[in-house]
């Protein structure tokens, strides 16, 4: 299976691992607004996704709760629980870039500590800016797998 394919929740996870679900953590699910992306974080399913545009008035305030929940999940669960991250942003401002970097640093640390972490960076094949950001972010990962996923549609 290609690393850019979207897996259904639970699919491809060994039964032993999916049994070890972290049911104490809430699922974050926020709809996209005009200036902020859709956020889905399901710690027990090991899935996190961001979709849309990101230039909220207060980027640190917007991303803070997500980063807190991610940190809590990564610190509090068995590293055998893998995490799949899907990012599909068409635009983000510099304050959001900072928040993304903080999120990627948490994920890379978790991968360095033995967790299987995969990040798919999705963008339109014609989008030079998002392609370049993807290349730049990819350089920061040594342990986590970061895949550039350009699409034609």
């Amino acid at each position: 299976m290609s690393e850019c394919e979207v897996t259904a929740p639970g699919q491809g996870y060994p039964a032993a691992v999916s049994m070890r679900k972290d049911l104490s953590m809430p699922v974050i699910s926020q709809q996209a607004t005009e200036r902020s992306p859709e956020v889905e974080f399901d710690p027990s399913g090991g899935r996190l996704s961001l979709r849309g545009e990101s230039y909220p008035e207060d980027a640190a305030g917007f991303f803070g709760p997500l980063l807190g929940a991610l940190r809590e999940h990564l610190d509090g669960t068995d590293p055998e629980n893998r995490i799949e991250v899907d990012i599909e942003l068409s635009y983000f401002n510099s304050s959001s870039a900072k928040a993304l970097m903080n999120m990627f640093q948490l994920l890379e640390e978790a991968a360095a500590a033995g967790r299987s972490v995969h990040i798919a960076w999705r963008y339109h094949a014609d989008d030079d800016t998002m392609a370049e950001f993807g290349e730049d972010f990819s350089e920061d990962f040594e342990h986590a797998a970061f895949t550039l996923c350009p699409s034609e549609d």
């Binding site: 005009e34 200036r35 230039y55 008035e57 635009y91 401002n93 510099s94 304050s95 870039a97 900072k98 970097m101 014609d126 989008d127 030079d128 800016t129 370049e132 730049d136 350089e139 920061d140």
Partner: protein
């Protein structure tokens, strides 16, 4: 005769190729609305999607810099905002977008404390002297590092503006009032 003064102002903007300009108290809500109008105008004119995205990005960072760093600010509670426990904030400045056969330019201007001029000028001199690859590396370096002291962002905004600009950024400072300077920054896409 008073209409003539506004007409001359409008003609001056036209001569500069300015397709829209906002002067006055800017807020995040206005940033959103102006940015939305800018994107729609570019879409109507079938501006290349990558160019439109760069113009929009420069516009957002320029407008956010005015909102965050203008020394002329008003903030407080209105009867309405108090109901939701929020404060109303406005920062005075200007943002303008020009379009000509040479492409787009985005200008912002606002007053700053004169004591901040030298540090800002040094930063801008540094960015204007860098080539594309140097700016890209510098952006990454700043992204990894913590935010600068007394900078509300990571000072990444200015680097983003310089990075999207196809020519070196242009900037100037003039004395606006005792202890205050008027600062202008222009980027080109």
């Amino acid at each position: 005769m008073w209409a003539e003064e506004y007409f001359r102002h409008k003609l001056w903007l036209n001569e500069k190729g300015i397709i829209f300009a906002f002067t006055g108290y800017l807020s995040e809500e206005l940033l959103f609305s102006l940015g939305d109008a800018l994107r729609k105008k570019m879409a109507l004119e079938e501006t290349d999607a990558n160019v439109a995205k760069r113009v929009f990005s420069v516009f957002v960072e320029q407008a956010q810099n005015v909102i965050r760093y203008s020394a002329d600010r008003v903030e407080g509670e209105t009867a309405q905002s108090a109901l939701s426990g929020q404060r109303v904030e406005f920062s005075s400045g200007l943002v303008a977008v020009a379009n000509s056969e040479n492409g787009f330019s985005v200008v912002c201007g606002n007053v700053i404390d004169a004591a901040h001029v030298e540090r800002l000028r040094t930063r801008l001199d540094q960015l204007a002297a860098m080539d594309k690859n140097e700016i890209r590396s510098y952006y990454k370096e700043k992204l990894r590092a913590g935010p600068d002291e007394d900078s509300k962002g990571a000072s990444l905004g200015l680097i983003e503006i310089a990075r999207r600009s196809t020519r070196p950024i242009r900037y100037d400072f003039i004395e606006a009032a005792p202890g205050q300077a008027f600062y202008c920054l222009e980027a080109y896409v």
